[in-house]
C-alpha cells in the first residue's frame, strides 16, 4: 500500500470511527447510489422474466424504502404510502416484460411510482403538489424525503443504533474497515479498492463480506429490537 493510499484509508477509518459517517460530497453521494447502472438489477430482472419470484423479492427489498420515499413526496398519509408502494411493485412485476433495459431498472421503477402516486391523487380529485422528473431518480435522496415521525423513543433508538454502528465499524480490523468504508462511503468498485489497498479483487470481496457480517452480528440484536417496536 502506498503512502497516499494509506492516508486515504486511514482518514476514512478515523472519521468513521469517530462519527460512523464521514461527510460526503455530492459526487461521492452519487457514486454510492449504486443504482445507476446496476448489473445485479439486470441479472435479477432476467431471472424475474423467467418466472423467478425470489429474484423479484430481492428487488423489492432493495428498493422499497426508496419507492416509499418517492411516493411520500406526493401522498402524506403513511398507510396510503404503504399501499401505493405495494401497488408500484405489483405493477412493476406485471409489466416486467416491458422493461427493455434502455434505462436503469430503478429509473423505470421510479417512473411507475410517480405515475402510481399521481393517478391515486387524481382518482381522489386532488392535484399533485410535487413534481418529479426522471432525472431526479438518480439523485433522489430518500434520507431527506422520507417522513420522520421523530418520536422521542424513535430518536433514542436511532441514536443508539448510530452509536452502535460507529462502534461496530471502529472495532473492525483495519484491513476490513478500509475496504468496507471505501466501498460504502466512497462507492468505489472492488477493482479500484484492490488498487488502493494493493491486494487481489477476491481479497477485497472477502474483506467487505467479513466486515459486513461483523457489523451485522454487532447490530443484529438492536435491529431485531427496533423492528418489533
Amino acid at each position: 500500500m502506498t503512502q497516499a493510499n494509506l492516508a486515504t484509508a486511514d482518514q476514512l477509518a478515523r472519521t468513521s470511527g469517530k462519527t460512523g459517517k464521514p461527510s460526503m460530497t455530492p459526487e461521492q453521494n452519487q457514486t454510492q447510489g449504486e443504482h445507476s447502472d446496476s448489473q445485479t438489477d439486470l441479472q435479477l430482472v432476467r431471472k424475474v422474466r423467467n418466472g423467478d419470484r425470489a429474484a423479484f423479492d430481492l428487488l423489492v427489498v432493495k428498493y422499497q424504502t426508496r419507492v416509499a420515499s418517492i411516493i411520500s413526496r406526493y401522498v402524506y398519509d403513511s398507510q396510503e404510502v404503504m399501499d401505493l408502494t405495494q401497488e408500484t411493485f405489483v405493477k412493476a412485476y406485471r409489466a416486467i416484460d416491458r422493461f427493455r433495459g434502455d434505462s436503469a431498472f430503478y429509473t423505470w421503477l421510479y417512473r411507475i411510482a410517480v405515475n402510481t402516486a399521481k393517478n391515486f391523487l387524481e382518482s381522489r380529485g386532488r392535484r399533485p403538489q410535487a413534481s418529479a422528473d426522471v432525472s431526479d431518480a438518480e439523485n433522489f435522496d430518500d434520507g431527506i424525503r422520507l417522513r420522520d415521525p421523530a418520536s422521542p423513543e424513535r430518536l433514542l433508538q436511532r441514536e443508539q443504533l448510530q452509536e452502535e454502528l460507529s462502534r461496530a465499524i471502529a472495532e473492525l480490523p483495519e484491513e476490513l474497515r478500509s475496504a468496507f468504508l471505501l466501498r460504502e462511503y466512497d462507492g468505489l468498485s472492488y477493482e479500484d479498492i484492490a488498487k488502493i489497498l494493493e491486494c487481489p479483487i477476491g481479497t477485497v470481496r472477502s474483506r467487505i463480506f467479513r466486515a459486513r457480517d461483523a457489523v451485522d452480528r454487532h447490530l443484529g440484536p438492536l435491529i431485531n429490537h427496533t423492528e418489533t417496536t
Binding site: 429474484a55 424504502t65 405489483v90 463480506f209 459486513r212
Partner: protein
C-alpha cells in the same frame, strides 16, 4: 446458507457478483434465509447512508408476495372506492330532485293554476319514488307543522302555503324549492 453464498450475496449488494454466482444463489433451496440476510444488509446500508432505523423503514415485501401469489388482492383504497359508490348511489335521486324542482318552478312561472301545479308536481315526485327506496305501501306522513289540524284547517293551510310559494317562485324565480317542498308536504311527504 454457507459463507460462500453469503459472500456472493454481499457482492450482489455491491453490484459485483457474476451471473453464475447469482444463479447459484437464487437456486438455493432456502430463499427465505437469502431474503432475510439481504434485507438485514440493506437495513444496515440504509442506516449508514440515510440514518434510517429498520423501524422507520418500509417493508411491503410480504404483501407484494401475497398479492402476486393471489393470496390477497393488490391494494384497493377502500375509502376512495367507498366514496365513489356513495356518490353513485346519491347521483340519480339528486338529479331527480333537481329536475322536479326545476320543472315545478318553471311550470309555476308559466302560469299554472294551483290545482294543475299540484298535479304536475306530484307526478314527477311519484316517479322519483323508486329511486329513494321508498316502499309503495308506506303510509304518507304529514308535514310536522300541519299535524294536529283537522281536515278543513289542513286544506286551507295547504292552499295558503301553495299559493304563497307559487307567488314566491313567480316573483323571485328562486322559489321553486320552497314550492316543491310545500307540494310534497301537501301530498303528505
Amino acid at each position: 446458507m454457507d459463507d460462500r453464498l453469503r459472500e456472493t450475496l454481499s457482492a450482489m449488494m455491491d453490484d459485483e457478483a457474476d451471473e453464475l454466482s447469482v444463479r447459484r444463489l437464487l437456486s438455493h433451496r432456502d430463499q427465505a434465509r437469502v431474503r432475510d440476510q439481504w434485507q438485514r444488509w440493506q437495513q444496515i446500508r440504509d442506516l449508514m447512508h440515510s440514518g434510517h432505523t429498520p423501524a422507520e423503514g418500509v417493508d411491503v415485501s410480504a404483501n407484494v408476495r401475497a398479492a402476486l401469489d393471489g393470496r390477497s388482492e393488490p391494494p384497493v383504497r377502500r375509502s376512495s372506492l367507498g366514496n365513489a359508490s356513495a356518490a353513485a348511489r346519491w347521483r340519480w335521486p339528486a338529479v331527480a330532485m333537481v329536475a322536479v324542482a326545476l320543472l315545478v318552478g318553471f311550470g309555476a312561472g308559466a302560469g299554472w293554476d294551483s290545482r294543475d301545479a299540484a298535479e304536475a308536481a306530484s307526478a314527477p315526485v311519484a316517479a322519483a319514488q323508486p329511486l329513494t327506496d321508498r316502499s309503495p305501501t308506506d303510509a304518507p306522513v304529514r308535514e310536522v307543522a300541519l299535524q294536529g289540524l283537522d281536515e278543513e284547517q289542513w286544506q286551507q293551510m295547504s292552499q295558503y302555503l301553495l299559493e304563497h310559494a307559487q307567488h314566491n317562485s313567480v316573483g323571485v324565480g328562486r322559489g321553486a324549492v320552497g314550492y316543491a317542498r310545500v307540494v310534497s308536504a301537501g301530498n303528505g311527504y
